[in-house]
Symmetry: C2
Subunit: 155 residues, 2 copies
């Protein structure tokens, strides 16, 4: 008997690993418009929404544990392109398509999802596979997350 | 002149790559208590909160593009342990510490953050570095995300 899992309120940090931190910053800040909250030796942290942080780690420099005054931050590191997705509203997809093209970012694919949503796929400068998705898509990402409602209208 | 980035509403999908899908399911569902929304050949998708999906990808089986009736889903794949973090309230940290120990999950480190928050670190069965964090921690993850408020109280 181990009991019931305590409460989780969502995902706080999503990580991506890159070789070129400045190229990544040009992309995540300059193109996608995210605000950098922390600039460290091994990571940049971006504001991706309330209680959502995108961590951009410097590949090859994050495998060792880091001692801090408050405790040891365990190391981790990956090779190869990973994936994560941003969400937006259906009303913003045309704007994103035009904006990415205007900034020289190739849209490598678009997908219509069975539930009715739609995604744009593109690469960051390191080849990670990024997506901007509009609902409905997943069972927990339905039509209530449409234009302008965001989280405030959905929870 | 390329204009202003259109709206992003947050991160929809966070990915982790594993070698053993059934061990991962035992952990993410059985231990952490996440509900599996989709069970596919190359991925399991878990409900991690409103408009937040954890994608568990089968390492070595996701590198190729996948053709679907709605379009091509681009491939991606990584080697090595990655990192992501869940968030909870300060009130739930003691319960998580006890619960993880009771279920046989070693807490590999704990960190007190300068802003006052606290994190527990542990591994999934594949060695990915997971974290459960309580606020305040990041500038966009402050005290307003404390016990029981969740997103509804913060946006």
């Amino acid at each position: 008997m181990t009991g019931t899992p305590p409460r989780l309120d969502g995902i706080l940090e999503t990580a991506v690993y890159v070789d070129d931190m400045e190229a990544a910053h040009g992309f995540y800040s300059g193109v996608l418009g995210l605000t950098r909250m922390v600039s460290g030796d091994r990571l940049y942290a971006y504001d991706a929404g309330p209680a959502q942080t995108l961590l951009v780690f410097h590949r090859g420099h994050t495998g060792e544990d880091v001692e801090t005054p408050g405790g040891v931050v365990p190391g981790h590191d990956t090779a190869g392109p990973s994936h994560f997705a941003f969400r937006t509203g259906r009303d913003a997809l045309d704007d994103w398509r035009m904006y990415l093209k205007a900034t020289g970012v190739d849209i490598i694919s678009e997908v219509d999802w069975p539930a009715g949503g739609h995604s744009l796929y593109f690469h960051d400068p390191d080849g990670n596979v990024l997506e901007i998705a509009a609902p409905p898509l997943w069972p927990n990402f339905g039509a209530q997350f449409e234009a302008g409602q965001g989280l405030a209208g959905a929870v």
